[in-house]
């Protein structure tokens, strides 16, 4: 508020302005009716100080680096250092991915982000019958610590931070990374990075679950507990809204469902005997940057404010680092179109800009060819350059939270907070996230939003340039990444060699120990660490756990 003019005067002036506008509209109406954000929040034609009159600067916004962190988690934000430029990559064999990682680092990327293939994510070795045709397709195939060693050849773990998108077998890959660090002279307390370790959203939206929810959550808490002791610079979980958003939910639902999952992880960890201020600082998050620019910036700010308040008010956290919502962002994969694919560079650019203006800690920008294939080297380079242009060329990083104080943005931030809190209340009332998964409530909410969006596109209420308007006849895109069909056989051969060379006795006794601990309530990480050091495979360790824990099955036909 300007402070000079009383709000009453402004209110009557605004009413007069609105009256006049209505008169104009009677003659020349607006281009359409029902203006709203991409997520369906109503948008007015004008925002004024009246819309933010309830906001108290200190309470609602505060200073950057201070509670409730609406304006960002650091005092200096990007004046201190830029976000980590972290491109998600992985395909084929460990050797193929090592080459891509080194290329990305050479191109100025500042952190690594590892994509695993589906068999690895679901705990099957590359020679398992269900792995056939899937090995090395959507990510890299990792069967044992030998593969991980190849993957990080000539990449000093001391100098990089590594994010691993792995969930159900997160404990195994964390242990492998730790063992690899130890072997190469980087002790656990110097390893930096993140393990996704967010199983709840696998049942809700992403689909790479293995174990029943309860046992999966036990593993999650084991990882969080172990890392809090042994890997102080490691983010032991990345609570992810991204995949729910990709599955079709709205911005409000993304915030609400992600934070609801966050609450569940905190409660699970507290039940396992951990202290809120021991685990709080190691929780990290992962959101999408979608297409509605202001809605996305507001979403990030709202999410930070809600989390800070939840941690303080609901869980009594005191360490300021426990209150900070730190997060990675990826631009929206589902906004990439197969038609006129070069336009995806622009979409990704705007989305990335919203992530930066929202105050992200790390960012992945998608490649223009990803509606058709995994990124090629060329498209991956352009994607990284997109972030570098935002960082170095356009002046948006010079001051913290530059959009703060915009009447529209602040009003949208408040609105998203209020609506997300309403969802949180509803989920609490239903008995929490685990119940909401088993009743299918969360899955249904997401599917409903996805269908509503699709209808809007098909009815031309939402224009997708090049797809439902401005179409052209075009030649298929060339230079696409091609999957190497030989990877499956190569991996199988590597597995045969591994099994010949390692000590079968050491493996079987390590696996027996994993099974034994799984039956108890002890932390599983030390036994899993022994197993990966004995060169047991991901499939073998998951197999041992499957026998004790059983497997999750999706509830019936839909």
């Amino acid at each position: 508020m300007s402070g000079k003019e009383p709000l009453e005067k402004l209110a009557s002036d605004t009413a007069r302005w609105e009256e006049k506008t209505r008169e104009q509209l009677a003659k020349i109406p607006e281009a359409r009716t029902g203006f709203e954000t991409m997520s369906g929040l109503p948008v007015k034609g004008l925002y004024t100080p009246l819309d933010t009159a309830d906001q108290d600067y200190r309470e609602s916004l505060g200073f950057p680096g201070s509670y409730p962190f609406t304006r960002g988690i650091q005092n200096t934000m990007y004046r201190g250092r830029f976000w980590t430029m972290r491109q998600y990559a992985g395909f084929g064999s460990a050797r193929d991915t090592n080459r891509r990682f080194r290329y990305l680092l050479e191109q100025g990327q500042t952190g690594l982000s590892l994509a695993f293939d589906l068999p690895t994510q679901i705990g099957y070795d590359s020679d398992h019958p269900l792995a056939m045709g899937e090995v090395g397709r959507v990510g890299v195939a990792i069967d044992s610590i030998r593969d991980l060693a190849v993957l990080f050849e000539e990449i000093p773990l001391k100098e990089v931070s590594t994010s691993m998108t792995i969930n159900s077998p997160a404990a195994i890959l964390t242990a492998m990374y730790l063992a690899l660090g130890e072997k190469g002279g980087t002790p656990a307390d110097q390893l930096r990075g993140t393990v996704q370790n967010d199983v709840l959203k696998e049942y809700i939206a992403r689909g790479t679950y293995i174990f029943p929810v309860k046992q999966a959550l036990r593993l999650t808490a084991d990882i969080i507990g172990y890392c809090a002791r042994v890997m102080p610079q490691w983010n032991s979980i990345s609570i992810s809204g991204y995949h729910m958003r990709e599955a079709g939910c709205t911005a409000v639902q993304e915030v609400a469902f992600t934070l609801a999952n966050g609450i569940t992880y905190v409660e699970t960890s507290l039940k396992a005997g951990l202290k809120i201020d021991d685990i709080g600082p190691r929780l990290s998050f992962f959101f999408s940057a979608h297409q509605d620019f202001f809605e996305e910036v507001a979403k990030f700010r709202a999410a930070r404010r809600i989390w800070a308040r939840l941690m303080k008010e609901r869980f009594g956290a005191e360490n300021p680092r426990s209150l900070m919502l730190r997060y990675h962002v990826q631009t929206a994969g589902c906004s990439l179109m197969a038609q006129q694919p070069m336009l995806n560079i622009l979409r990704t650019g705007y989305e990335a800009l919203s992530a930066v203006l929202g105050g992200c800690q790390s960012l992945h920008t998608n490649s223009y060819d990803e509606a058709l294939a995994l990124p090629s080297e060329r498209s991956a380079q352009i994607a990284l350059r997109t972030q570098q242009i935002i960082a170095h060329e356009i002046g948006v990083t010079e001051t913290a939270d530059p959009l703060a104080g915009s009447y529209y943005l602040e009003s949208l931030t408040d609105r998203i907070e209020a609506e997300a809190r309403e969802y949180l209340r509803k989920i609490d009332e239903m008995g929490g996230v685990i119940t909401s998964i088993s009743t299918g409530y969360l899955q249904e909410e997401i599917a409903e939003s996805a269908y509503r969006y699709q209808k809007a596109v098909e009815e031309r209420r939402r224009i997708v340039v090049g797809v439902n308007k401005f179409k052209v006849k075009e030649e298929p895109l060339t230079g696409l990444h091609k999957a190497d069909p030989a990877v499956g056989e190569e991996q199988a051969a590597r597995l045969r060699k591994l099994k010949r060379e390692r000590s079968a006795r050491a493996v079987s006794s390590a696996l027996a120990e994993v099974s034994r601990i799984a039956e108890t309530e002890e932390n599983l990480l030390p036994s899993i660490l022994q197993a990966v050091k004995a060169e047991a495979t991901v499939g073998e360790i998951c197999g041992a756990l499957r026998e004790v824990f059983g497997e999750y099955t999706q509830a019936g036909y839909y």
């Binding site: 045709g133 939206a205 689909g207 599955a247 079709g248 509606a371 269908y451 997708v464 439902n468």
Partner: protein, 136 residues
């Protein structure tokens, strides 16, 4: 299409792929268009898909896959259908399927292959036009 009953469709997710936003959207759109649709859920093997198609006595089988395992999985489904004498089934596929993979998949009997950006109305008309009357 079969006289006196609605078109029955099985929507299947073969392989390990967890992306089913598209599949679920199509399930809803086909239901809104008056069809009876059964969705298998994730992680179906070719054998499970063939068995479900037979058991549910469907007119149309749709498979959605985005993981790139289609060249391995689709031929096995088609082989299984042939063994059961179900060659008449209208089989459609969708997801991320590279241009050059399409002709060989059509050769093994997959009638329609739909990529990203396809509208549900296009799929509905394709089914209507391509469904042959079956003997009851």
């Amino acid at each position: 299409m079969t006289e006196g009953r609605n078109i029955r469709v099985l929507m299947a997710k073969p392989g390990l792929d967890g992306h089913d936003r598209g599949a679920k959207i199509i399930v809803r759109a086909l239901r809104d268009a008056g069809m009876e649709v059964i969705y298998t859920g994730l992680r179906q093997t070719p054998e499970m898909i063939v068995a479900a198609a037979e058991q549910e006595d469907v007119d149309v089988l749709m498979m959605s896959i985005l993981s790139g395992a289609h060249n391995h999985l689709f031929p096995r489904v088609m082989e299984g259908l042939r063994k059961k004498g179900m060659e008449d089934l209208l089989v459609l596929a969708g997801g991320i399927i590279p241009e050059e993979d399409i002709p060989p998949l059509k050769d093994i009997g997959i009638k329609g292959i739909f990529g990203p950006g396809t509208e549900t109305t296009e799929i509905i008309s394709f089914i209507m036009e391509n469904l042959r009357p079956r003997e009851s």
